[in-house]
């Protein structure tokens, strides 16, 4: 059934050309961003553009990592994203356990609520959140961001973990319970340890959502010491002039955690990303 001879070579060349065009489309902007982060600011828009300029240096990176204000953006982002990830996993595992292993009267409606909550537009919640966070005295704190991000990460995490628990045979946790252990022991000792791949997938996804969030970080924090990386990148625009090389360096530094997660956990990463739309 496979094409033969000259036709096959022609097809192969065609596909390769397509792949290379696609790679330029996808990769060139990223490549240019990286190249620009090593330029001196006046060289950013020089004509004709060059990939490597005489001013090639790591100065933009040094400026960022030695500026306490900018380092603080990264610290904030890590604190918020890691807290959201940990809390989401704990709360989601508990809820997923109930959904997977118990039957209770409000299970179906609760399930429906959790699925549809994912479609609630952030902009709809933004106005009341603003008032709510001021009332709860959480405005301009880490908690304002952590709690609001969890609203958006939890539903997905619960759905994914419920699905994961459902693939694990019931006999596993029932066996422990027959020995007299409570359901929490069964969850903590048996289900959680064998669910590590699922937890990693969900954890990575959660971390990314929290690391990348922009709208709430913009509105629910006010002072520079509470800002996260996405807002920090924006603050570099038009502060005095545009520090393009610093913006690009900060962008590169800002995508490092996601890139590292991706390289080490590619399989989980893609698993988590496509699980919703592709049925196993």
């Amino acid at each position: 059934m496979e094409p033969k001879g000259a036709r096959r070579v022609l097809l192969k060349v065609g596909v390769l050309v397509g792949l290379v065009v696609g790679a330029v489309f996808a990769g060139f902007p990223v490549f240019w961003m990286a190249a620009s982060s090593f330029k001196a600011n006046p060289e950013i828009f020089e004509l004709p553009p060059r990939v490597v300029t005489p001013g090639f240096s790591f100065d933009a990176y040094t400026t960022i990592v030695t500026d306490p204000v900018k380092v603080r953006f990264f610290v904030n982002s890590y604190i918020v994203a890691l807290s959201v990830t940990m809390l989401t996993l704990v709360v989601a595992v508990l809820a997923a356990y109930a959904f997977s292993r118990f039957d209770f009267p409000f299970k179906r409606p609760l399930n429906m609520v959790i699925v549809s909550v994912q479609a609630v537009p952030p902009i709809t919640l933004l106005i009341p959140y603003f008032g709510l966070m001021v009332t709860l005295k959480l405005y301009n704190t880490y908690w304002a961001l952590i709690l609001t991000y969890m609203v958006f990460t939890l539903p997905y995490a619960i759905i994914m973990m419920t699905g994961y628990f459902n693939t694990l045979p019931r006999e596993l946790d029932e066996a422990v319970k027959v020995d007299g252990a409570g359901s929490f022991t069964a969850l903590w000792r048996i289900l959680v340890p064998i669910s590590v791949p699922g937890l990693v997938s969900v954890g990575i996804y959660t971390f990314m959502i929290a690391w990348n969030e922009y709208l709430f970080a913009l509105t629910l924090t006010r002072t520079e010491n509470m800002r996260t990386v996405p807002i920090g990148i924006q603050l570099l625009m038009g502060q005095h002039s545009y520090e393009w090389n610093e913006m690009m360096a900060m962008s590169i530094l800002g995508c490092v955690p996601v890139l590292v997660l991706f390289l080490f956990f590619q399989r989980y990463f893609i698993g988590g990303m496509t699980a919703g739309s592709v049925k196993a």
Partner: protein
């Protein structure tokens, strides 16, 4: 992003026959336990989902809330004002164009890339390298994508240089500042950033299509495109519908990309529903009008979500 929570294997509410009646397991405990487990979730959803939605609906029914000490009930006045505002309909039109074009282009690009990555003509290493390259745009946060494209699309930037050198334009194009072009430019950026999700989902789907379906079609004398249309597309249909619906839901809500590239301008040619609502609230302090607009967007999203959930249920 999700399928619905599926119930696990059926659980008998009473102790099963393996456990004789009278063992220490207390039935009340068994009944209460699941609520303990879902309690943190329910608490969070009530405080940060139910309460805010009630609040925003309430805000939308009063005259200028938050700014006034004692707001007066305004009924549906805010809604009539929003729905008769030409700026609102301009935002609806832009959002529809932005979303419709993005979804179609995402699907076409995602499908093309997924099929190229699934070809038997090339080795696995080659395909793995291209896969990583193709997924790149998805690894960047919107804030980064915005500054990145502001760099490329700058009038003095590299794209204009390449176009001028290639003789395609003779003047510097103001991609993000020209009212005739800006909407297309932001849509293009969104297309660039969004296709990897389709590509990966479709690639996973392609790899799951049983081989014998293609063999049977070949025996029947079907050409490559006939096989694609009669085997591949029908097999991928559930995935395509799912991701397209999710994409519609999330693209209509896109805020950060617009906000950081054009801010809705020039004038209001790239104003989306999200930026329109945000500006009403946080630039003009018209919180009641903004709430009315937010509720309208909410209702629209819930209608989409309803169809999405129903579709997912039908798949189960």
């Amino acid at each position: 992003m999700s399928t619905s929570v599926k119930a696990g294997p059926r659980q008998s509410p009473r102790p099963g026959p393996t456990r004789p009646i009278g063992t220490p397991r207390k039935p009340w405990r068994r009944r209460v336990e699941p609520y303990v487990y879902v309690f943190p979730t329910v608490l969070l959803m009530v405080v940060l989902m139910l309460v805010p939605i009630v609040m925003v609906i309430r805000y939308s029914l009063y005259d200028n809330v938050i700014m006034k000490k004692e707001p007066v009930l305004a009924g549906i006045a805010n809604y009539t004002e929003i729905l008769t505002d030409p700026d609102f309909w301009n935002a609806v039109k832009n959002t529809a164009f932005f979303t419709g074009t993005s979804v179609v282009a995402h699907l076409v690009l995602g499908m093309a890339f997924a099929m190229m990555l699934n070809t038997p003509l090339l080795g696995n290493v080659t395909k793995a390298i291209f896969r990583v390259l193709f997924i790149l745009p998805w690894l960047f946060t919107v804030a980064i994508i915005a500054v990145l494209w502001r760099l490329l699309l700058n009038p003095n930037g590299v794209l204009n240089y390449l176009l001028q050198t290639g003789g395609l334009t003779d003047s510097k194009v103001e991609w993000l500042a020209d009212p005739n072009i800006a909407l297309y430019a932001v849509t293009f950026i969104n297309i660039w950033s969004g296709y990897p999700f389709y590509m990966m989902s479709l690639l996973a789907g392609l790899q799951g299509i049983p081989r014998d379906l293609y063999e049977a079609a070949t025996v029947d004398g079907a050409s490559y495109w006939q096989r694609w249309w009669n085997v591949t597309v029908p097999q991928l249909r559930p995935i395509i519908v799912s991701i397209a619906m999710l994409d519609v839901i999330f693209t209509t809500q896109q805020f950060a990309l617009i906000w950081m590239t054009t801010g809705g301008g020039p004038i209001n040619v790239t104003e989306m529903l999200s930026t329109f609502t945000y500006k009403l609230a946080f630039n003009r302090y018209q919180f009641s009008l903004a709430s009315a607009s937010a509720v309208i967007i909410f209702v629209f999203s819930m209608v989409l979500a309803f169809f999405y959930v129903r579709y997912q249920k039908a798949r189960d």
